[in-house]
């Protein structure tokens, strides 16, 4: 589903990164661990098509990301990649359900209200469907964040530090939710984090050094 080879990125002469080759198949979960400043977020941005590598290859669903032009990449990203950012950003003028519907619309996927509501139900926040984002707790926001990354049924879900602000119990719950959702839509799930608690939860791991 997602495969990289000889991936390198250089901000300047002093800040250059080389990443190990990785692959994650449909329905699999891959944990990418590393300390702060090791290039985790850079790797996530490269995998998400938000930055272009200086060297190497990124293939998602047999498509080479590096070769795509800007507008094609925008479209490809929308259709095939779901990203869960560390900070919970939403369209504040829309309610929870509208945020999910907009995500489907922008991704070019079928606008499926029933699926959005089902996803919210799976995440146990269906009662917040009509709530404004500002009225949600941080935990609820994180679940909506997850829902938004999966409602357009991408091939790959990338999660950036999804558990860093959570206690142990909620940490395990969120990972389980991510796993469930990814499996539900048949996506490869990559979690990029420095949170070593996940070592014991996720089997397939790569440590950046």
């Amino acid at each position: 589903m997602i495969r990289t080879a000889e991936l390198q990125f250089r901000y300047d002469k002093e800040n250059a990164f080389s990443f190990p080759d990785l692959s994650c198949a449909k329905g699999e979960m891959l944990l990418i661990l590393g300390k702060s400043g090791i290039g985790k977020s850079t790797l996530l941005n490269l995998l998400g098509g938000l930055m272009k590598p200086n060297h190497g290859s990124i293939q998602i669903n047999e498509t080479e990301l590096v070769n795509l032009g800007t507008s094609t990449l925008d479209r490809f990203r929308g259709e095939n990649i779901g990203i869960i950012f560390q900070k919970n950003h939403f369209i504040e003028s829309l309610n929870v359900l509208e945020n999910l519907l907009l995500s489907q619309k922008l991704a070019g996927a079928k606008v499926d209200k029933a699926f959005c509501l089902k996803t919210l139900e799976t995440l146990n926040i269906q009662h917040k469907a009509k709530s404004k984002i500002r009225n949600l707790s941080e935990g609820e926001k994180q679940r909506v964040n997850i829902a938004r990354a999966v409602v357009h049924k991408p091939k790959v879900v990338l999660a950036d530090e999804p558990t860093s602000a959570l206690d142990d119990e909620n940490c395990a719950k969120v990972v389980e939710l991510l796993r469930t959702q990814a499996q539900e839509i048949g996506a490869a799930l990559l979690i990029v984090t420095h949170d070593t608690r996940l070592k014991n939860i996720v089997e397939k791991q790569i440590v950046l050094s």
Binding site: G48, L50, D74, R77, H89, F90, L102
Partner: protein
């Protein structure tokens, strides 16, 4: 969920900013809309009522006042002129004059002016009879369409006039009642708001007063100024009149032919005056040659000792040098005053134009400030929503979609502001129309929409687009990675 809906939600999610933008925009558009409406309507009224009149003759005074009084009926007369002095201009064989229409003013009914004139006035304004017929005899009137509508006067109705231009019961001529014999079709001109009669009716109503005054010991009575007021005492003796045909005690009108002279319910006696030519009889027969003669300039000129207020003149040729210099010759060599309506009205409009121009600049300034306000609002909103825009890009939105979203927000603000502004402008216009109608009996159409509104909409869209251009450009260039990483 589409971009339009998102743009709308973004706008309404910040109600105070929305309110400020709409108020500013609506104020600018409303003021411009009001000025355009006002200008159009005034221009329309002025032009329609010009009626191809080349010259107005009247008593010496203010030329503009004379024009406003004689053609637009919104001011008082400058005075009266003797028919003897006016005779050359009323001569049907005048080599330079195609048509000369005499006007005798002085009375009103519920603020609608009663005009003693000839049938030529109808031709001047292309007026046609809708019901009934033209006035023929003394105290018969044919009323304009607006008069009929506003006063509910119908054929056969009688009414008592009041002196001057304002309705005043104390100034009512209770001794003489007018009877409606015809109603004109609407023309869109000033004639719609006039009550037309023959000239002798106007003379008679006031001569009667003169008699009252003469016989009640009053000294000089200045009718020419049209500013006299009097209570009418009908229990009087008219020397030189023979009232044998009716049983009015105290009247002795020698040497006059008498007919029944019926007054309205407001009048408490019948009165017949041969000298006043009150040959009014209760019938609705067609016009005979004698009626047509009486309502022509030739008929009028049989009373050279009488007075009229104005003459509306059309020249045979508008290029004839002698005709063009006629107003100057009249002003320099006679006791009369002559003025060109086109010249006076152009002067008036130029003077009004200075004021409306200043207001127009103010409105434009407000519109520009409102455009700047939209720009600031969008720009500020863009800063606050940069993560949202980056998120949209991550979700698959193209840079073009982001800039279109911002442009849509600017356009929506402009359109809402335009709609509110147009409503405000037309409401203000309706208020003004009410005031104008009360003051001058002029009807203005406040809810007429036309080309101006279309142009204003285009201008509004241009302002909205311009205000959103820079924010839209910034949105287009949103750097997803830098924004989401907080750099």
């Amino acid at each position: 969920m589409n971009l339009f809906k998102l743009a709308w939600k973004n706008i309404v999610s910040n109600p105070w900013s929305l309110l400020l933008n709409i108020i500013l925009f609506a104020l600018g558009i409303g003021l411009i809309s009001f000025l355009l409406l006002f200008n159009d309507q005034v221009k329309d009224k002025f032009e329609k009522n010009l009626a191809d009149i080349d010259m107005v003759i009247g008593a010496k005074g203010s030329p503009l006042q004379m024009i406003l009084c004689g053609m637009y009926h919104v001011d008082n007369p400058t005075g009266n002129i003797k028919l003897e002095h006016a005779r050359p201009f009323l001569n049907p064989k005048h080599p330079l004059i195609k048509r000369a229409v005499p006007l005798s003013l002085g009375d009103n009914y519920r603020s609608y002016r009663i005009v003693g004139t000839t049938y030529d006035l109808l031709d001047l304004y292309n007026a046609e009879i809708s019901y009934g017929r033209k006035w023929a005899r003394d105290l018969e009137v044919t009323i304009g369409a607006i008069v009929a509508e506003k006063t509910n006067l119908k054929l056969g109705d009688k009414f008592v006039s009041s002196h001057g231009f304002e309705e005043d019961d104390d100034l009512a001529h209770a001794h003489a009642a007018f009877k409606v014999v015809g109603i004109l079709k609407p023309t869109g001109t000033v004639i719609d708001q006039l009550i037309l009669s023959n000239t002798s009716s106007v003379w008679n109503v006031h001569d009667h007063e003169d008699h009252d005054r003469d016989h009640s010991g009053d000294d000089a009575h200045d009718h020419s100024g049209n500013d006299h007021d009097s209570d009418h005492d009908h229990d009087h003796n008219h020397d030189g009149h023979d009232h044998s045909a009716h049983g009015h005690d105290g009247h002795d009108h020698d040497g006059h032919d008498h007919h029944d002279h019926k007054h309205s319910e407001h009048c408490d006696h019948d009165d017949n005056h041969h000298e006043h030519n009150l040959n009014y009889v209760e019938n609705t027969a067609g016009l005979g040659p004698e009626n047509i003669f009486e309502n022509s300039n030739e008929g009028l000129l049989l009373n050279l000792d009488k007075e009229i207020t104005n003459i509306l003149v059309q020249f045979k040729s508008k290029k004839n040098f002698q005709a063009l210099s006629m107003p100057r010759n009249i002003n320099e060599n006679t006791e009369l005053m002559a003025a060109s309506p086109a010249y006076q009205i152009n002067n008036l409009r130029a003077n009004i134009g200075v004021g409306t121009q200043a207001l127009r600049y103010l409105a434009l300034l407000i519109a520009l400030v409102s455009g700047f306000s939209i720009f600031i609002s969008l720009f500020k909103s863009l800063q606050e929503r940069k993560y949202e825009l980056a998120l949209m890009r991550v979700s698959g939105a193209s840079p073009f979609q982001l800039s279109w979203l911002i442009l849509l927000e600017g356009l929506i603000l402009a359109v809402v502001g335009f709609v509110v502004g147009i409503v405000v402008g037309h409401l203000a216009s309706a208020l003004m129309a009410g005031a104008m109608s009360d003051a001058y009996q002029y009807n203005f159409s406040s809810w007429k929409f036309g080309r101006n509104e279309g142009l204003l909409l285009i201008a509004s869209l241009a302002i909205g687009t311009t205000a959103a251009l820079i924010p839209a450009w910034k949105a287009y260039n949103t750097d997803i990675n830098r924004t989401l990483s907080g750099k």
